[in-house]
């Protein structure tokens, strides 16, 4: 399996956020996207997740399952928000996503109990999600990556609100995923401590192209 991006560029509203980004990721490889605030890391990840249309360029998955329409169907996206309901218990949240997402071909999601243990918070899955602290909530959102199998993980600032111990635990999860032949794209300020990574440094730029309403 290979994730190929060719000449991607994207706009938000009128502004061109980035231009002509290309990379190729094979199975078991990770891409770390770095760069200052506002350089378009999040936008790039949202384009990869199929949540934003790319202005130009293409995103392809080689050797993927034939009936797939967009790589996003084989991806997990962990954005700034955790996509969990405060009113429901952690277990209810996770089992909902497990059932709703299902497994991609080529793997199977882990059991709920296992996933909660893997993020280091066993025994509190019966609590409402809203009772947890910000760091615990983030870790439970990572458990969501484990309960439904997806070969591609797209992570936006995954370690925000996590302490050093949790950082390491998370790096372990990502490494295990890569060992199984997964692909990881992560935007982060912190070093994730991963081997086998490519780095994409986004610089951000101001107005190469002034947009539709100006003369180029």
């Amino acid at each position: 399996m290979r994730l190929l991006a060719e000449g991607l560029s994207a706009r938000r509203g009128e502004d061109l956020i980035f231009n002509d980004i290309s990379f190729a990721l094979g199975a078991g490889e990770a891409l770390v996207v770095t760069g200052p605030n506002g350089s378009g890391k999040s936008t790039l990840l949202r384009v990869l997740a199929g949540l934003l249309m790319a202005e130009k360029g293409s995103l392809k998955l080689e050797n993927g399952p034939p009936e797939m329409r967009h790589p996003s169907e084989l991806s997990h996206y962990l954005g700034h928000r955790n996509a969990m309901k405060r009113e429901l218990t952690v277990a209810e949240n996770l089992s909902f996503w497990k059932n709703f997402m299902g497994d991609s071909p080529g793997g199977s999601g882990r059991d709920l109990v296992e996933a909660v243990e893997a993020v280091g918070l066993p025994g509190i899955a019966h609590l409402p999600f809203g009772y947890l602290s910000a760091g615990q909530q983030r870790r439970m959102a990572m458990a969501k990556l484990l309960v439904a199998y997806r070969p591609i993980w797209i992570l936006d600032e995954p370690t925000a609100a996590l302490d050093a111990g949790a950082d390491k635990l998370f790096a372990g999860l990502v490494n295990a995923h890569l060992d199984q032949g997964g692909i990881v794209v992560a935007a982060t300020h912190q070093p994730l401590g991963l081997d086998r990574i490519q780095e994409l440094r986004m610089t951000g730029f101001a107005g190469v192209d002034g947009g539709l309403w100006h003369d180029a």
Binding site: R12, A49, G50, L51, L52, M68, S72, E73, S75, Y77, G79, H80, R81, N82, A83, M84, K85, R86, E87, L88, E92, S95, F96, W97, N99, F100, M101, G102
Partner: protein, 219 residues
Amino acid sequence: MIALFLRDLKLSIRAGGGAMIGVLFFMTVVAVIPFGVGPDLNLLARIGPAILWIGALLASLLGLDRLFQAEREDGSLDLMLMQETPLLVTVFVKCAAHWAATGLPLVIAAPLLGLFMNMDELAIGATMLTLLVGTPAITFIGAVGAAVAVSLPRGGLLVSILVLPLAIPVLIFGVSAVYAAIEDPAPFLPPLMILMAITLFFAVIGPVAAAAALRHASD
């Protein structure tokens, strides 16, 4: 999909109590009318079906703006957009859950309020039947408005403004079916059939339009 249905039902029953507030609003609106028009029982019996329908229409619009906004705020909407299951199926199931949590209680509460309006048994039965058939249409139309207004900070009022004009046909045929049932010469079935057709039509159009709006609102 059943998981999504059950989750939405749970959410509406848990804290927040969206389901109960809808019924409460319905009861309050209907209870206020006699103060406005006076306690003339004959008059109330005559306008009862219309009052019930308008109350149900307003009550079912009440929680609609949160249908997608809550999902968007905590990021769940992003994940729903990414899945292999077509978005319009997701929207349809969400609408169904919303109707079961807010529309169905209205239908169940309607007979009680019918008694307050001094309506006879036939009128109450007809109102209940038309509400059962017609309120899903309001939910499906509302889903379009909710999807359009999903990224707006104060979308609640806007959803009502967008949706109310579209819901007028439902109101017309719902009320006229009830009056057809009460007053002898007019046939009951044609307006009911039209109401059913409207519901089915919006059950198809609503999710398609809402899904399209959600795709483009995601940013």
